[in-house]
Symmetry: none
Subunit: 229 residues, 2 copies
Amino acid sequence: MKVVQPCILVVEDEAAQREVLSYNLEAEGYRVLQGESGDEGLLLARENVPDLIVLDWMLPEMSGIEVCRQVKSDTTTKAIPIIMLSARSEDVDKVRGLETGADDYVAKPYSVKELMARVKAQLRRTRPAALGAQLDFEDIVLNGETHKVTRAGVELKLGPTEYRLLSQLMEKPGRVWPREQLLDHVWGRDAFVDTRTVDVHVGRLRKALTAEGGSDPIRTIRGTGYAFG
Amino acid sequence: MKVVQPCILVVEDEAAQREVLSYNLEAEGYRVLQGESGDEGLLLARENVPDLIVLDWMLPEMSGIEVCRQVKSDTTTKAIPIIMLSARSEDVDKVRGLETGADDYVAKPYSVKELMARVKAQLRRTRPAALGAQLDFEDIVLNGETHKVTRAGVELKLGPTEYRLLSQLMEKPGRVWPREQLLDHVWGRDAFVDTRTVDVHVGRLRKALTAEGGSDPIRTIRGTGYAFG
DNA sequence: CACCTATGTAACAGTTTCATGACACGCAGG
DNA sequence: CCTGCGTGTCATGAAACTGTTACATAGGTG
């Protein structure tokens, strides 16, 4: 399966709960990773860098709070939004007070609908295009709903990979993306592809973006990767 | 089958009022969701993406105005029409002045007929086919009442599945529909059918649409699905 | 300037995805 | 029972896409 859809890591020790969560998230069209313990969760987070983590507060060995701290203190994972599940509603405030850095909190027992809504809310911040938003940069417009890309009003023809690549780049204009990270996000963590492939696709994307005129909006960061704008 | 009737979200804290509204809306053939508070309303809106929201201005915690703002600032829900109910008629102007982005305003006490009329008016803009109206795209006309499809005045022969598929595609021209979503909406969520079947029916639909001449209005989005227009 | 490395780019071959026609099955009407 | 229609699946060929490689260029360093 391709990497278009957001990837969510669920860390929860109770198998039943984990299954329910995963089932519902998959029904929403997300890719789901499951972790049974804090250790495993951390590992999966670092390994896969998912788009979001749903994290149970109560975990057998390492507490969810500790997992949260570690995720948030690691450069490669600190940007991942975390939604914490706390056992009782009165704990929500307590947990929130701990300044763990989690981005949202949901009290058990939670309504699945509510949790799904919050998941979507978080992703909307970080992966707008994946949820159908429109990205603009100067005269370049990427519409996540129609998958059309136009420049100065002219529709451009992009292959699937070029589209995903542009979408990724435009989500954070100006940000520098190392080749490795682009591979992770655009190709998927499990793809074993040469990093030079990124160059080739950036080249193709550049050609497509400038085919109808206009300057090249992609900067090359020598020795590192690329940036948009 | 899932002839998807329009779904309306009612956000109103007073149970009695909510019931009256729901009763009348259901009598009109709409599916109704009820929210008792601003919070719940927002969640329901984000989760279900209804076709319209009837929103009370005065809500206990989060005001209707705030709900409206949040709905309108959220990419996935911003397109949903909102009808605001304000307590007194002199407030209508005030609320309108606040530029909340609501699409219509009704003063309490309102006549049920009036509200129903306004609901229908809003839906006519966004869900024409479900109301039995007709969908137009260039020279293609789909009549929701007679279930007849014509192109350049010539009636086309479509099977039931092709009709539903076209109806779904035409309701949001330009929007990309992943195969999975088309299966959900056209075949029904519980249908167990191969995703490739979508291809075959799109092919049949294309053949029918171009049988009498004219260009193919369906775009193939490689690796994803299809879009109309 | 000479040299070395990183990047741009074109060409190519392999793979994936899609369009299409064939076919079998289930069902309703005759 | 036969017949016609609508549907889902499959096989096939065509077209699009992708990753790699090889070579040309540009950037940086001493």
